[in-house]
């Protein structure tokens, strides 16, 4: 891919070209059902096939597009730097359009026909759960990079995004200390929102705070008059918000215009959908995001000149924002490179083994992850001990750092005892099985 920016016009023509090849349909090149010795085309013998399925249209395009762009950036950098173990990376990318049905079909095609060596796919938890049966059946090495509710202990899945416990664990204690113990939780009314709300209860118990109210809002809701009134009625010290999606963004706008100025801790706002760039100030004033990464994270490897942000915008001049998931796509590609070079082969079981031997970025062998310091991939749980930041937006939506510290993934390792180096598993654990206060 040429070095200059991947402007929209080029993308459209590429789309057109893909359209034509696409018409040949998924039955085209594939050598059909015969599972005999794969008569690989020559190119795949000495290239690394990386499959990237990220939403560039549909409901999750806003947060999915940066993920796609970051993967392409990492791949281009590695290729320019000699590739993996001397082999150039051949990216295989299609737009699933935020449609779980397309994810399933494209995952099938990427595994059985394109025969990708590794797969990055999916923003929402629903998408992960939709394709995990296909991943498990084919024992396909799979990176899931979105921050999520946590608890997935799966032999071939690497959930390298931060978990709800890590994110809420970074922002909630600070807010309790800073503003007081009374918490009001508002969350999107689906799995992620409900499990995150359970984690707020667990963390409140650990930090002797108290959840005075909890409210779940359907993804399709966009008027928050009653929610704002309930918050005012409960008079909490701060609010924990795990709202998700386009419709929920309007909560922040409506909260500001209703004059509700209680501090709000969040694990989803600003870092994923960059609301502070899209809404008019002071909508996001006094919002505290507990995340592993945002474009404004002040580390040398991120905002320093020639850093990750600069390189990202060099490649995509008209990109909107470098969000949390983009960084995870980026550094996890380097983790994969490390693992393949350690394993010396593309065979997925060996690469998984190398990944489980503990890959860390920020050492002399591998560049530092944009979120800063060294971060390690924990072999047993396939999760990452992230460098967690708490960042606050002021009246003009400028982002300032509040705290930052390393928070390891504890739920799967300590509480559940998931150790994939010892025994294979493909289950998702939830806090309610282990903490009674999460009832």
């Amino acid at each position: 891919m040429s070095g200059d920016g991947f402007s929209r016009r080029q993308f459209v023509t590429a789309g057109g070209a893909a359209l034509v090849s696409g018409l040949a349909g998924c039955s085209g090149g594939g050598d059909g059902g015969d599972g005999g010795a794969a008569t690989d085309t020559m190119s795949s013998a000495d290239t690394v096939k990386i499959g990237v399925l990220e939403d560039q249209s549909g409901n999750f395009a806003l947060v999915g597009d940066p993920k796609y762009k970051a993967s392409m950036l990492a791949i281009e950098e590695i290729n320019n730097d000699g590739g993996i173990d001397g082999k150039q990376i051949e990216p295989v990318a299609r737009d699933p359009q935020s449609d779980n049905q397309r994810y399933q079909e494209l995952t099938r095609e990427f595994i059985s026909e394109e025969e990708v060596d590794v797969l990055w796919a999916g923003y929402s938890s629903a998408t992960r759960e939709a394709i995990r049966p296909i991943i498990n059946r084919n024992e396909q090495l799979y990176f899931y990079t979105t921050q999520y509710e946590g608890g997935v202990c799966d032999k071939t899945t690497f959930a390298v995004g931060p978990t709800a416990r890590q994110q809420l664990g970074s922002v909630l204690p600070y807010l309790v200390e800073e503003f007081g113990p009374k918490i009001y939780t508002i969350a999107a009314d689906y799995n992620f929102g409900q499990l995150s709300a359970d984690w707020v209860k667990v963390l409140a118990d650990e930090n002797d705070a108290e959840v005075v109210g909890e409210e779940f809002i359907p993804l399709s809701e966009s008027s928050f008059g009653s929610v704002i009134n309930n918050i005012q009625d409960a008079e909490p010290d701060f609010v924990m918000s795990m709202l998700v999606g386009a419709n929920h963004t309007s909560f922040y706008e409506q909260k500001a215009s209703a004059g509700l100025d209680v501090p709000i801790g969040t694990s989803t706002a600003m870092a994923q959908g960059y609301e502070h760039r899209r809404l008019d100030p002071p909508a996001m004033e006094n919002i505290y995001a507990g995340v592993n990464y945002m474009e404004e994270v002040p580390t040398e490897s991120n905002t320093g000149d020639g850093g990750f942000v600069d390189r990202y915008y060099d490649m995509y001049p008209d990109a909107d924002y470098v969000n949390e998931e983009a960084e995870t796509n980026y550094f996890s590609t380097y983790m994969y490179k490390e693992a393949v070079e350690q394993a010396g082969t593309l065979e997925q079981p060996e690469v998984i083994e190398a990944l489980e031997s503990g890959i860390s970025l920020g050492t002399e062998r591998a560049p530092e992850a944009p979120e800063g310091e060294t971060i390690e991939l924990d072999g047993a749980t396939h999760h990452v001990d992230h460098h967690m930041w708490v960042l606050r937006a002021d009246g003009e939506h400028n982002i300032e750092e509040v705290t930052n510290r390393k928070i390891p993934e504890q739920f799967l390792s300590n509480t559940v005892g998931c150790d994939l180096t010892q025994e294979d598993e493909q289950t998702q654990y939830t806090p309610v099985d282990y903490f009674e206060e999460a009832e």
Binding site: S222, S250, S257, D280
Partner: protein, 313 residues
């Protein structure tokens, strides 16, 4: 804790949302018989046009809103001329093949549904290609009104007021003006209306334009309050259809009444169960029951009651 004023404000909020969501559709679907699945995208055009008028052209918000509605009205007329009435394709057809290419979509419910679904796919994706996955939102004007420990955004109350104004204006235009009578005559029986000298082509065009303009106005009014994304139209679609159908034959009055009923149900249940999910499900179930037990919709029911009372039974 159900606070009277809270409940009232929430009711106004739901009422304004349902009525404004259904405003344009009441005319395009209610009066003209076109099931417009791209209704949400007409609202999107109004919202984007208003936002750009403020951010790019620097116009004050009220002026930008008028611009937003007009742009959508013109867009609506363009859609009507090309797809709905097939005037342009037939004009071309006459000159090339010597016959009309397509038949108008009026009163062809299923076909208009498929056509407008295709149109909505094109509009959402084009908006994404041209303007990206999101554009900057304008701020919400007017502060808030505080009462006790609560406060409510003044703009939301203004929205409720405007929604009533829109209804009154539409009611006046469509029932008390000669233009209104011409529209209803054309829709009731185009042939007879044409025979009576009504320029039905122009009436169809203008009526569709007004319907689109109203949808654009809804987009303009909600622009400061919603996040500007190509898929913002989806949240209006179901409420709009339900309100129009539950409203019944006398379209404008019906939309107001169904907006009231559905708004009340949604606000009350949300308050009682403290869950917006059940508030939304209650609204949908209320709509299903209304459609079942009031076959002619609310105004159909009123019509029957009035005529039965006259029978003196």
């Amino acid at each position: 804790m159900v606070n009277g004023l809270n409940l009232a404000f929430q009711f106004l909020d739901s009422f304004a949302f349902v009525v404004l969501a259904a405003a344009g559709l009441a005319i395009i679907f209610g009066i003209m018989g076109v099931i417009n699945l791209a209704h949400g995208e007409f609202i999107l055009v109004g919202a984007y046009a208003t936002t750009f008028a403020v951010t790019a052209a620097g116009l004050p918000l009220p002026v930008a809103m008028v611009v937003g509605s007009l742009v959508t009205a013109l867009f609506g007329i363009a859609v009507e001329r090309t797809i709905i009435s097939g005037f342009v394709p037939n004009w071309i057809g006459q000159r090339t093949v010597g016959r009309d290419l397509i038949e108008p979509l009026y009163d062809r419910l299923a076909d208009s549904m498929v056509a407008t679904f295709g149109l909505s796919l094109v509009m959402v994706q084009s908006a994404r290609i041209l303007f990206g996955n999101s554009i900057e939102t304008v701020g919400t004007p007017f502060g808030n009104v505080a009462y006790g420990e609560f406060s409510y955004s003044t703009y939301r109350l203004v929205l409720a007021g405007v929604s009533i104004l829109v209804l009154v204006a539409a009611y006046y235009v469509f029932t008390r003006t000669t233009f209104g009578t011409r529209v209803r005559a054309t829709m009731a029986d185009e042939q007879t209306a044409k025979a009576l000298g009504v320029d039905t082509e122009r009436t169809y065009m203008l009526t569709f334009g007004i319907g689109s303009g109203l949808a654009g106005l809804t987009g303009a009014l909600f622009a400061p309050v919603l996040s500007m994304q190509p898929t913002l139209g989806d949240q209006f679609l179901i409420e709009a259809f339900v309100a129009v159908v539950v409203g019944g034959p006398s379209v404008v009055l019906g939309t107001a009444l169904s907006g009231g009923v559905l708004g009340a149900v949604s606000a009350t249940v949300t308050n009682l169960t403290d869950s917006t999910t059940f508030g939304r499900i209650a609204l949908l179930l209320a709509a299903m029951l209304a459609l079942r037990f009031l076959p002619g919709g609310i105004t159909g029911f009123i019509e029957r009651v009035r005529s039965r009372r006259q029978e003196g039974e």
